[in-house]
């Protein structure tokens, strides 16, 4: 009992990581029990133990597929964010360009990526390029919106300050706007980590012979539900790790946000 209490306290102290882990353990135990007690067939819902065994035995295979998916997701992500941020700079600079192109950006956003995927497969083939395209397409909107918002969110006082130094537009951009846009930009960068994985997997659903989406689709045809679950789990871990990496980079880049909070 004392040992359990010590263990619990340790988890409590390690807060952000400990508590979610504790919750997952509880969920897995309940899940395992329910499957056993309700005698749910394995092809409908395999118990966690079977899924873990599946992950363990086929780890190499899963990782191979996932690395293809992540490669497509990250490539699309980088491409979309680079183009999207440049577009945002353009929009922030010129109202005319923004007015002209914004409806298209909205159209891009509201068209489901799954509706575009067959077209992209047709254009780019069933190889990695089409997955990069679907991933990029889905990441495009958040960065445009947020970079425009960030670049134009400079407060009047700061602008007055720069004006009082007779600063050029370029100086205001490099020394002020770029920096103040960063919190917004990173918020988009974080949102689109998960979206990029979604985009890549959708691309794989529509036409592929490799990747985690392909694996999920194939195992569903063969009612290999535990493989499916293992693949889903790996893809989730991929998305979460991507998010975590970007969050760490954010903390390093926008270090002053934290010092603002504590100050």
């Amino acid at each position: 009992m004392k040992l359990a209490l010590q263990f619990f306290n340790k988890i409590k102290r390690s807060g952000t990581i400990g508590i979610p882990i504790l919750f997952s353990i509880v969920i897995f135990v309940v899940w395992e029990l329910l499957v056993f007690l309700l005698e749910i067939p394995e092809y409908l819902l395999p118990p966690p133990s079977t899924i873990f065994i599946e992950v363990g035995t086929n780890f190499g295979l899963l990782l191979g597929h996932m690395s293809m998916t992540m490669f497509a997701a990250i490539s699309g992500y980088l491409l979309a964010n680079a183009i999207g941020f440049s577009t945002g700079v353009l929009f922030a600079h010129s109202k005319t360009i923004e007015k002209g192109l914004y409806p298209y950006a909205i159209a891009l956003k509201t068209t489901p990526v799954i509706a575009m995927a067959p077209l992209l497969i047709l254009w780019f083939g069933t190889d990695i390029e089409s997955k990069i395209a679907t991933a990029a397409l889905i990441c495009f909107f958040p960065i445009i919106v947020n970079s425009v918002k960030g670049l134009t969110s400079v407060d009047k006082d700061s602008l007055d300050l720069f004006k009082s130094y007779s600063a050029s537009k370029w100086q205001i951009f490099t020394k002020l706007r770029l920096r103040t846009s960063l919190p917004y930009v990173f918020s988009a960068l974080k949102i689109s980590t998960g979206l990029s994985v979604v985009g890549a997997v959708v691309g794989e659903f529509v036409g592929a012979n490799v990747g985690i989406g392909y694996l999920i689709l194939v195992s569903s045809y063969h009612l290999e539900t535990s493989t499916m679950f293992a693949a889903i789990m790996i893809s989730a871990i991929g998305g979460v790790s991507f998010f975590a990496v970007i969050s760490i980079i954010e903390k390093k880049v926008i270090f002053w946000q934290k010092s603002l909070e504590t100050g």
Partner: protein, 251 residues
Amino acid sequence: MPSIIEVQDLSKYYGKHLVYEKLNFDVKEGEFISIIGPSGCGKTTLLKILGGLIEHSSGNISINGQPVKNALKARKLGFVFQNPVLLPWRISSSNIELPLEIQGINNSPKLSEELLKIVGLEGFENYYPGELSGGMQQRVAIARALAFKPLILMMDEPFGALDEITRSHMNLELLRIWKEEKASISTVIFVTHSISEAVFLSDRILVLSAGPSKIEEIVDIDLPRPRKTEMKHSKRYIEFMEHLRKIIGED
């Protein structure tokens, strides 16, 4: 004393809304002048017009006989706003060097050190704004305003966001900095909504009426210098306070 700023028939409209009509006054070289008035009377707007940050609608303003834009370009003006407006990603010293950096002027590496010493923040070169208190941040902002060695320091309610104790301390500090030889400021134009602060600091107080504003009165404050906190209890000080309260109609 000769005038450093001359304002003739200054009018300002925001669209159709009249802010002032035909203001006439001057600012004398070496004086500490405050602008005071009921809220919404356009004190800040007036300061920003004098500093060339806002365009006026008609009339004439000259600084040392030249248009305001020239004075701004010649770096004769230093600004301190109500918020410190420090860039949070820069340490104190690089915040102070920002104006020089923008104008492409080489500065001695000792400059920010010296300026921080003048504003009483020796040794805080490497602190980020987030690590400093509100009063300290405003000191850094003053140091930054001094980086150009401006002739005229324009301050827009610089201590308005500070608590009472810090504020009166900063008032004394400001008077010290103004007279500091190294700071090289000749004239201070100071916008405030605090009558007490205005009386304590100023040589003259320009009182604006509620909008559309005109100059209600320019009050000469002939309290001796250097000003000391004890003076706030003197008969003369209290008379000024009462007189100003009466004309501003704050009761």
